[in-house]
Amino acid sequence: MTIASDAARAVMERALSRSAEALSRFLGDRVLRPSYVTLTTHRLAELPILWGRAEMPIAGVVLEVRGDLEGFLLLIVPQEDCAGFLQSLMGGPCDDEELAESALGEMGNVVCSAFLNELADTYAMRINPSPPAVVCDMVGALLETLAAALAMEKRSELPVVRAQLAGNGQGSSAYLLWIPGRGDLERLEALS
């Protein structure tokens, strides 16, 4: 599945670029241009295996999107790439787990807020994300919990917007993932 409207795709790509710029400023390091934004549709049961291996350890930052748009916005960093980002953030290795989680949470907040701000500015929307929640665990366990929350809303098929943000310094990558609320993408397309 692709994003139907070129205009909507252009907005998504701008939002991703804004996220990359925000991440670059935050890290004090240039972040490579984000990869082509993709939109796929999945059955609820497929959500925990989006990355293939449900047990893959990651650091995930989750914001609940509220207001004119809904859903969940995530920044996911594979565990092996966390050290690279933390190196850029802290200027050296970080052994303090609590501090590392806090720094990654702030990084996720900056990246996700930039993405949402672009959408809010373009479509004159009011979007109020929740404070970031940080999870350092299996990617499948995180996504499975979101799947359960979405099952409570009686959702069985989900659009998922994804893009990769590749760091320049340590070869680190982070992934932005948006699970829009019911009808959000259609609304954006209609406004584009």
């Binding site: 049961a45 959500l47 925990p48 449900a54 989750v62 929640a133 665990d137 919990t145 099952a151 409570m152």
Partner: protein
């Protein structure tokens, strides 16, 4: 042979060469039921305490329907209620987001209540906390293991329930 049970999926059987695996349990509950005498097992990857839509055809997705459904399916393969015990993992609170509530705790509470209602003892559990877990059931040995990030596999089945140490009266399919 490894058999993966995804969200809302279940399996019932007695094939001794199989291992049933539920990867990355977060708020969901992985439930294993076993009649060691007749060597009949069942498992479900349960997502929510109760059904939220009327036309869902996955009974194993919800705790309230999964437990009686698995018991019925086990009975069809010759399991006897008096021998059946349960093991469970999952029910974690992975995310501290106010609007989500604690789905894991609600799943855990519903699981314990459903097992109690049907008179099934819960002999091993790794439920709650904030950690993701993978639950594996080995039908050959009768051992359930739980895996967490950064920890070695942990056998959660009490030793007296391992197949090697129970008396087996029923037909066996071991190789």
């Amino acid at each position: 042979m490894n058999v993966v049970l995804g969200l809302g999926e279940h399996r019932v059987g007695r094939a001794a060469e199989e291992k049933w695996i539920m990867y990355g349990l977060g708020s969901c509950i992985g439930l294993i039921l076993c009649d060691p005498v007749n060597r009949v097992s069942a498992a479900a990857h349960m997502v929510l305490p109760k059904q939220v839509s009327g036309n869902d055809d996955q009974p194993a997705k919800y705790v309230e329907t999964a437990v009686p459904f698995l018991l019925e399916e086990m009975a069809k393969l010759g399991a006897e209620r008096r021998y059946i015990y349960a093991q469970a993992a999952g029910g974690a609170q992975m995310l501290n987001l106010a609007s989500l509530g604690d789905i894991g705790a609600r799943n855990a509470e519903a699981t314990r209540a459903a097992l109690q209602k049907h008179g099934i003892p819960l002999v091993a559990e790794r439920i709650g906390g904030r950690e993701g877990r993978t639950l594996c059931w080995d039908l050959r040995t009768g051992q359930a293991t739980v895996r967490r990030v950064g920890s070695p596999d942990e056998v959660i089945t009490p030793r007296q329930y391992w197949y090697g140490e129970v008396r087996v009266d029923g037909p066996r399919v071991d190789r």
